[in-house]
């Protein structure tokens, strides 16, 4: 664990980090400004204490519930990639990208668990057929079909993006956690873009960004992943009335330019298809 790096990130991302742990301000400064082996050797203990103070103690129940919600989604994603990236249907040209995504999702699980500590929920068991435990849901061909795998991957990544986005305002009380969540959110969006690009290169009519509610996933259950993505009004501004290159900005561009959030309930409804009851 690159503790120096993480602390520097926290300080950069959260200007109030030092204040958050004001009695440890001197310790933080020492940690980040000295590279001596003594200081580094002392890090694990100091860091664990600081980490708990910054994330654990000040984290309210609400923040923990948001983090456990995120952890559930990350459990699903990591389990999905741990299971299916071992399949022989993944072309060697695409394997390096999925190795990155798999690592990221496992790292997100570890990170969220470390933040939640004893409050972390355990991983549910998953049914990636989308059958809520029946093993015979609409995505059952994921066992043998790379295209189904890609469709599910796209749906999970886009759901992840929308889920984190929907929780951001619930984390405003804790700048450190909010910034960490945003820093995961953009990684999920990078994954989604890559998977969509893979599908596009295989002839599927999707782009790295979300156009309207189009998913090019024929299974009806996927529609709920994209509900509301065709929104073209942000705040009080109707984007399609604004000036583009030729005339007004198109509805497609207006929709693509802004990803939309999902509520917790919407996300739970999606995830529940893949969780063994």
């Amino acid at each position: 664990m690159d503790l120096l790096n993480l602390i520097e990130n926290i300080n950069a991302a959260d200007p109030e980090f030092a204040d958050r742990i004001s009695d440890r301000r001197a310790a933080i400064k020492n940690i980040t400004s000295f590279g001596s082996k003594v200081a580094v050797a002392a890090l694990p203990f100091a860091f664990a204490t600081l980490f708990k103070k910054a994330y654990g103690q000040s984290a309210t129940t609400d923040v923990n519930s948001v983090l456990n919600f995120a952890l559930t989604a990350e459990y699903l994603e990591s389990s999905f990639y741990n299971t299916y990236t071992a399949k022989s249907y993944i072309p060697s040209s695409d394997a390096p990208g999925f190795a990155i995504i798999k690592t990221d999702e496992n790292n997100h699980v570890k990170f969220l668990k470390s933040v939640l500590g004893a409050n972390a929920i355990a991983s549910p068991q998953f049914d990636f057929s989308g059958g809520a435990g029946s093993g015979n849901g609409p995505f059952a061909s994921v066992e043998t079909s790379y295209d189904t795998f890609l469709a599910l991957s796209q749906a999970f990544e886009d759901t992840g993006v929308r889920a984190y986005k929907g929780q951001a305002t619930n984390l405003m009380s804790n700048a450190t956690v909010l910034t960490a969540a945003l820093n995961i959110h953009s990684v999920e969006a990078r994954h989604a873009s890559h998977v969509r690009r893979l599908r596009q290169l295989r002839g599927v009519q999707v782009k790295p960004w979300i156009t309207g509610v189009t998913s090019e996933i024929s299974i009806a259950a996927a529609a709920s992943v994209y509900a509301g993505e065709d929104n073209t009004t942000q705040g009080s501004v109707n984007i399609t009335t604004l000036a583009g290159v030729n005339g007004s900005i198109s509805a497609n561009a207006a929709s693509e330019a802004f990803d939309e959030p999902l509520t917790k309930n919407q996300v739970v409804a999606i995830l529940s298809l893949f969780i063994k009851a």
């Binding site: 200007p15 040209s93 986005k165 873009s193 690009r197 290159v245 939309e260």
Partner: protein, 233 residues
């Protein structure tokens, strides 16, 4: 130094940043940030005139507006003078990105209303627009920078509505960044320069103080941003 202006782009036309208002530090609120356009009217005297961007959330939104102006101007130029060998598929993707960045820019302009900073003049003289590698490298730099900037500014926003909209934009910037990286070399949508891939797999966010010097490399001298903050630097 060569600068580009874009006549088909109403948002950048007729920009005049000169001596609009004398600098008033936007430091009233905690963690206020001022990303302001500066004019050095007389280098010897080192007087700096800046456009007041307000404080608090308005300053953050203007900071985003400045970055979106830069990105939109870049992609307009890319699409107006396609690099050698640009495929139709690449043209389509880059045109989409251009339209997204224009949407972001025009959104901020509309949302900020009379609080918006003026149109900035870019300086893309370091970019060879006829060369694919040069264009995509610049594109990657802009997109990665944009993602890190939004991620770093999110927690500075006080208004939840603004935070949500920033969240809606940053994931689109991340989609752009990943695509451009995949165009440069497939499977490089994430690497250790932008994401802590060996530990938490969180993106490295950046503060305005880290972002602005990079952005300034692509802005004309009379449009460069400067930074003030309470409790950040």
């Amino acid at each position: 130094m060569k600068t580009h202006t874009f006549k088909n782009d109403s948002g950048l036309a007729g920009v005049d940043l000169s001596r609009r208002s004398f600098l008033r530090y936007a430091g009233a609120g905690a963690a206020a940030v001022a990303a302001v356009a500066t004019i050095e009217s007389c280098k010897k005297e080192k007087h700096v005139y800046k456009t007041d961007v307000g404080s608090g959330d308005t300053a953050i939104l203007n900071y985003a507006y400045a970055l979106e102006q830069l990105e939109a101007a870049f992609y307009i130029q890319v699409c107006n003078s396609p690099y050698s060998g640009m495929t139709s598929a690449e043209n389509s993707l880059l045109s989409d990105i251009r339209d997204h960045e224009i949407a972001h820019r025009e959104f901020f302009k509309a949302a900020l209303g009379s609080s918006a900073i003026k149109g900035l003049t870019p300086n893309f003289s370091s970019i060879n627009f006829s060369d694919r590698s040069s264009v995509l490298a610049a594109s990657k730099a802009f997109e990665d920078l944009g993602v890190s900037a939004y991620n770093g500014a999110g927690a500075m926003l006080k208004n939840p509505d603004y935070l949500l909209i920033a969240g809606k934009i940053v994931s689109v910037e991340a989609r752009h960044a990943a695509l451009i990286r995949d165009l440069i070399q497939f499977n490089t949508f994430i690497d250790a320069s932008v994401v802590d891939i060996n530990n938490t797999s969180t993106e490295y966010s950046k503060t305005p103080a880290q972002v602005i010097p990079v952005a300034n490399q692509y802005l004309a001298a009379n449009s460069q941003l400067s930074f003030t903050a309470d409790g950040i630097m």
